[in-house]
Structures are given as structure tokens and as C-alpha cells.
């Protein structure tokens, strides 16, 4: 497939990254020991997946197809297709409930049109995220509903060379809501508690935090792109304690997607929500008003801030923690201003 002279609409999203990622997502052409075709994505030039590629290079016998034990095929243990695998329950989730299978096969593809066509997201510096090992993504939170986290997750899960999942830690409220609660878990989220974040970092995951919390998503239109207070600096203690780098993330575009022009506090109290938003379209247009406006988005990942040079008890030093948290906040604020200029008009 020659892609030389073709002007690709999605050129900036599907970045070519070496021979390990073929442009078309071909399926592996080997057969598993159960006789079913292997349905993993092909990674080698010969059209085999990761598991079968090495065996194709060293054929052990005169067998026409590569056979392996089904257990070696970690994401598709029984060699089924997606639908059968789901119907039989034969998929693995991790302790926090991250359902890789569902994310990769259903949730990310569903997000793709929103990311590519609707918000036309451009990402910068995604390769500054380490390929392996723990790191803390710290982003600005905005846009009334936390759709910014969804976009950041999509960006890292598709554009990063290792396609890493971002493990966000979400507020209590998220886990009380029907549908949202388990969808959040299935995409890899955990609870915003020290226990959860620590354990995820210990397991070498990429943890996403939005220290502004509800103050960030629930701020009015006049405050757009002004970072709110960074919680109580818990993320900073976490990073110092675990000595994981902080990667600042600036997200531009979410503010215009759901511009909140007013907050009806009594209604929020009644519904036990942190705020009740009035946007130009909600509740004016009813459920239709819950659609985001098609703003243009930019996501920039900053250079990792290493945490190695601080003393062992740095996490206990409250002044140092606040100071560092403020510096991270300033960094993200500067990145926001820069990207606002870079983006130009919000919608067209």
C-alpha cells in the first residue's frame, strides 16, 4: 500500500512509527492450535502478530500453519472473535477493573470520530511520555463534563508509540453514578485516593490526575483557561513519595465545547451535584443541548519533571510540596496561554 502522494485526512492522527506498526490494521494470518484463525493484529511484514512472528521465522517442522498453545495468545485466549469472547466472558480485567479488550475494541473506536472529526484534536509532545514505567500526568480540568480526560486518554492510547492506557483517578461522585461508574472503571479509572494512585504507580502505570477537580470543570465561562487551586497538593506528595516524573498536560478546547454561562446552585443542591450548568444549548435544547459544541482542540504534553533530586522526606515537607505544586501549576498555565495562541479561533 503506497501512501506517498495521497493527501490523507487523518495524517496527523495516525503517525507512522516504524515498521512495527503497519498502516492498515491487518489481522494475523496464523492459525491457533484450536484450528481457529488468530485474530490478533499483525505486526510483522509477513502478516503475523507478535506471538506468531517469531515462530514464522523459525518454522519448527513442515507444518503449513503456525500452531501455538492458545494460552500464549494472551488477549484472545480461546481464539474467538470479539463477540463470542464477550458473550462467554472469556476476557481478563485487572484488579482495578480496566477492561483492555472492551476499551480497544469498542470504546476507543467509538471515541475516534469525536476526537478526529468533531473536535479535530491536535496533539503535541505525546512521545515525551515514557514508554515504560510509572509517570503522573497532571492536566487542567475544564468543560463542565469531564470530556477532556476522555480525549487525553484517547490521545495517549492511540498516538503514543506504546499505546499506553492512562489510569485516571476520579472523584467519589463518578463511582456513585449509574453507567458512568463502571464505564470509567472499564476504561482504566480508579478512585481518587492515595491507596489507589500509589498502587497504580507501583504497578508501573501511567496515572492521570486533574488536581483542580470540580472547581476546574465547574467554573464559569469568564474563568476559562484560568487554572483553579490545585487541590491540596496530594498529587505532588504522591510524585515525591514514589519518585515518579510529572508530565504537565495542557488541554485547550474543552472550555468552548461546554461553555458554562451560569451555575444554578439551588438545583445543584437539590440534585446533590457539585454544580448545575447552564450552557448556550443546555437546558434550552433539552437532551440535544448535552451535545458539546464543535470546538477545535489542542493537547500538549510537556517535558517530564523529574522527582529524583529531592530528599527522601520531601513528601513530608508541606512548604516544599505547595511550592512544587505551584510550579507545576504555573507550567501548565503557561502551556495553556501558548496553545491558545497556537490554536487561533475556537471553532473554525
Amino acid at each position: 500500500m503506497a501512501d506517498a502522494e495521497v493527501i490523507r485526512l487523518d495524517a496527523r492522527v495516525r503517525r507512522p512509527s516504524g515498521p512495527s506498526r503497519p498502516q492498515a490494521r491487518m489481522r494475523c494470518r496464523a492459525t491457533t492450535s484450536t484450528g481457529r484463525p488468530c485474530r490478533n493484529y499483525a505486526v510483522s511484514d509477513e502478516g503475523f502478530c507478535k506471538v506468531h512472528a517469531s515462530q514464522a521465522r523459525h518454522p519448527s517442522s513442515s507444518e503449513p500453519t503456525v500452531r501455538i498453545s492458545p494460552a500464549a495468545d494472551e488477549h484472545d485466549p480461546e481464539g474467538d472473535g470479539f463477540v463470542r469472547r464477550r458473550a462467554r466472558g472469556s476476557y481478563e480485567i485487572d484488579d482495578f477493573g480496566y477492561d483492555r479488550d472492551l476499551s480497544r475494541e469498542v470504546l476507543l473506536p467509538l471515541t475516534r470520530p469525536l476526537y478526529e472529526r468533531y473536535f479535530r484534536v491536535r496533539t503535541f509532545g505525546v512521545d515525551r511520555i515514557p514508554n515504560h514505567g510509572p509517570a503522573l500526568l497532571v492536566g487542567n480540568h475544564s468543560g463542565t463534563v469531564a470530556i477532556d480526560a476522555v480525549m487525553v486518554n484517547f490521545a495517549v492510547a492511540t498516538e503514543h508509540p506504546m499505546e499506553r492506557p492512562v489510569r485516571n483517578v476520579g472523584a467519589d461522585l463518578v463511582y456513585q453514578l449509574p453507567f458512568i461508574s463502571h464505564l470509567a472503571r472499564k476504561t482504566g479509572a480508579a478512585v481518587a485516593r492515595d491507596e489507589d494512585a500509589l498502587e497504580l504507580l507501583r504497578r508501573g502505570e501511567l496515572v492521570g490526575v486533574y488536581p483542580e477537580g470540580f472547581k476546574g470543570v465547574g467554573k464559569g465561562w469568564r474563568e476559562r483557561y484560568k487554572l483553579q487551586r490545585f487541590g491540596r497538593g496530594g498529587f505532588m506528595e504522591l510524585a515525591l513519595q514514589m519518585r515518579v516524573p510529572i508530565i504537565p498536560v495542557a488541554i485547550v478546547g474543552a472550555e468552548e465545547a461546554f461553555p458554562m454561562i451560569a451555575n444554578v446552585k439551588p438545583l445543584a443542591n437539590l440534585l446533590r451535584l457539585p454544580y448545575f450548568p447552564i450552557t448556550p444549548t443546555f437546558p434550552l435544547l433539552g437532551p440535544l443541548g448535552m451535545l458539546p459544541l464543535p470546538s477545535r482542540w489542542l493537547i500538549e504534553f510537556g517535558s517530564p519533571i523529574p522527582m529524583d533530586d529531592y530528599p527522601d522526606d520531601a513528601a513530608e515537607d508541606a512548604m516544599l510540596v505547595f511550592d512544587l505544586a505551584d510550579r507545576v501549576r504555573d507550567t501548565i498555565q503557561q502551556m495553556l496561554y501558548r496553545n491558545l495562541q497556537r490554536r487561533g479561533p475556537a471553532f473554525f
Binding site: 464477550r86 458473550a87 480485567i93 449509574p178 491507596e195
Partner: protein
């Protein structure tokens, strides 16, 4: 050193019975005494069965007469149906534990007490840690039913530990026990052909295979004192569990689901206590690091394998039916008199 002389409470219920069978083959165990209200449904070699109600102070005489040095209390039960109603269950769970420990406090030979508590004492809340550590239980929560029983039983156990610091105290907080032969409200629920669930909620669940539960109790005979979370590795979503078992999920709007649970209970299909219904909304997963590292607990099954084992090896129900109350006091007196006679003879 001679082997341990073990007394198991609740020996006729599935966990105590299986533990007795397991310890029968253990070279470190010299003698097993089983205590319950009903005879064990299957005979066990080398088990000395004593029919006694642990709520009665007479249990102290049993501890003395049998010369046990280890007490394993497995009789904190979760299903009101088997126990003859909720108030009866509370009596046995709370007052039983209280009396038993009071008796143990007097028994000087006792140097180790193992109490089977439950993960239920952590309560059920959407924003609890994704993997609950042991020290999480210290925060104030309002508990009901079985969870409250467990919390109170643990409280008595800790008080006992304070009064007898020489005794090694082990508390096991077990996850829902599931397996081919276990019959609890959870296994009955999982075995419904069409399982009602709450619309919009898909909790992470974690189970404990019955064999792993027995193994953990056996490990507690020699492990270091402390409180341990006991569960199998890995989690499944409720939806996934039902699919693995080949059942149909019937998502119901939450108020409707509560009514459905009440109907199931009324028609004696599944006796799912209301206090445990929240588990099907928010789930509960334990962190078993401490048990693995300090107790040497290495579960044979994962949560998922536990479900598959239950699916593939359905077994006969051998939980005893709650039959008429026996004249256990009389039998106990018989027993004690017999022991005394033996003592006379050997003297």
C-alpha cells in the same frame, strides 16, 4: 513438641466440616474436636464431635475437658435462612462469639484463637479503595445485619486479645466463599438461570474458593498473629461472572431490583439479605498482600477459576437442614460425665 489439639466451632457447616477433613491429614494436628448443634452430615475419622451450643456457658467445660490449645471459630454465619431467621442468626453470631471467647479466656491451655470474620465489615461504598487493605476497617461506617455481626464479633475478639495477650490471635476476613459445594446467598444468586442485576451498575466482584478458604484457616494455625484479608486473586465484573457461568443477566431499575430481591426471598429462591444487596451495586475487592507475604497464603484458584470450578463441578448440597432443636444439654452432660469417668479410670 506434640501436635495441636484443635477445637472447631460450626463443624457441621461447610467450612468447619471441610476444615476438619483437611486437618485430619495434618501431621501437626494431634486431635480435632468439633462443636455444633447438629451432627456433621458426613462422618470424619478422628473427629471428636460434641453437641453443644456455643451461646451456653457450658462450652467452657468442653474446652477444659477436651484439653484443646487451639480454638478455630468458623461459626459466624452470613445466611439467616440456614440459621432460622435473622434474630437467631444474630444470637449465634454475636452472643455465641461472646460466650465462646469468655470461656476461652478462662481456659489456660488455649494459646491460639482463629476467628473467621468477613470482608463484609468493610461496608460497601462506591468510593472505597479499589483494593481494600486491612487497616481500612478502622473508619466509622454504619453496618447492618451480617456485617454488623462480624464487626461485633471482631470487637469481642480484640477485647479478648487485650485480656489474654499471651494468646496468638488471628482474624481472617474472608471474601464471599464460592465453590462447588458451598451454598450461600451468593452462590444461589449466581446459579439462578436469569439473574436480576441493577441497571447501570456493574460491580467488580472477588470470590474465595472453598478450598482456598480451608487452606487459609489451616495456615492460620501456625502463622503470625494478626488480621488478614483472605480472597482469591483477580476480579471479575458481575456481568462477566454471569456470562462465564452461562446465565442471563436481567438488568432492573434499582427500586425494581430491590423489590425483585424481596420477592426472591419471599419465595425462598435466593435469600439475599438486604444489607448485601449493595454489594451488587458497588462491589468490594480486597488487597491480599499481607496474607500472601506474612501468612504464606497462596490461593490455588483465581476468582475466575473459582467461578468456572463451580460451573463445571456442581455438587450435591450437603449443608444440614435446620431440623428440630436437639436436647443437646442432656447429651453434653452425658459427654462430660463420660470424660470424668475416663479421668477417674486413668487416675
Amino acid at each position: 513438641m506434640a501436635g495441636r489439639r484443635v477445637l472447631i466451632t460450626g463443624v457441621s457447616r461447610f467450612l468447619g466440616l471441610r476444615l476438619a477433613k483437611r486437618l485430619e491429614a495434618d501431621p501437626g494436628v494431634e486431635h480435632i474436636v468439633g462443636v455444633d448443634l447438629e451432627e456433621p452430615p458426613i462422618p470424619i475419622q478422628g473427629l471428636e464431635f460434641v453437641r453443644v451450643d456455643i451461646r451456653n456457658p457450658l462450652v467452657a467445660r468442653v474446652l477444659e475437658a477436651t484439653k484443646v490449645d487451639t480454638l478455630i471459630h468458623t461459626n459466624v454465619a452470613s445466611t439467616p435462612g440456614v440459621m432460622g431467621g435473622r434474630s437467631q442468626m444474630k444470637e449465634i453470631n454475636v452472643i455465641g462469639t461472646m460466650q465462646l471467647l469468655a470461656a476461652a479466656q478462662r481456659a489456660e491451655r488455649i494459646d491460639r484463637v482463629v476467628v473467621k470474620s468477613s470482608a463484609a465489615i468493610y461496608g460497601t461504598h462506591p468510593a472505597e479503595p479499589s483494593l481494600i487493605p486491612e487497616d481500612y476497617a478502622s473508619r466509622p461506617v454504619s453496618l447492618h445485619g451480617y456485617a454488623k455481626d462480624c464487626a461485633e464479633a471482631e470487637q469481642y475478639t480484640r477485647n479478648f486479645g487485650r485480656r489474654r495477650p499471651d494468646v496468638d490471635l488471628v482474624i481472617l476476613r474472608t471474601q464471599n466463599v464460592v465453590g462447588p459445594t458451598v451454598k450461600t446467598s451468593m452462590t444461589r444468586f449466581l446459579n439462578l438461570p436469569v439473574a436480576p442485576t441493577a441497571l447501570g451498575f456493574d460491580p467488580r466482584l472477588q470470590f474465595l474458593h472453598e478450598e482456598d478458604a480451608v487452606e487459609a484457616l489451616a495456615l492460620a494455625l501456625n502463622g503470625p498473629r494478626g488480621i488478614y484479608n483472605i480472597a482469591d486473586e483477580g476480579v471479575v465484573y458481575l456481568s462477566q461472572a454471569l456470562r462465564l457461568l452461562g446465565k442471563v443477566e436481567l438488568p432492573l431499575f434499582v427500586p425494581v431490583a430491590t423489590t425483585a430481591a424481596n420477592l426472591l426471598r419471599r419465595f425462598k429462591i435466593v435469600d439475599f439479605p438486604t444489607d448485601q444487596l449493595k454489594l451488587l451495586l458497588f462491589g468490594r475487592v480486597l488487597d491480599i498482600t499481607r496474607a500472601r507475604e506474612q501468612l504464606g497464603f497462596a490461593p490455588r484458584y483465581t476468582t475466575r477459576e473459582t467461578l468456572l470450578d463451580m460451573r463445571d463441578h456442581p455438587a450435591e448440597d450437603y449443608t444440614p437442614e435446620p431440623n428440630a432443636r436437639p436436647t443437646w444439654e442432656q447429651e453434653l452432660f452425658e459427654y462430660l460425665r463420660r470424660r470424668n469417668q475416663e479421668k477417674e479410670l486413668t487416675r
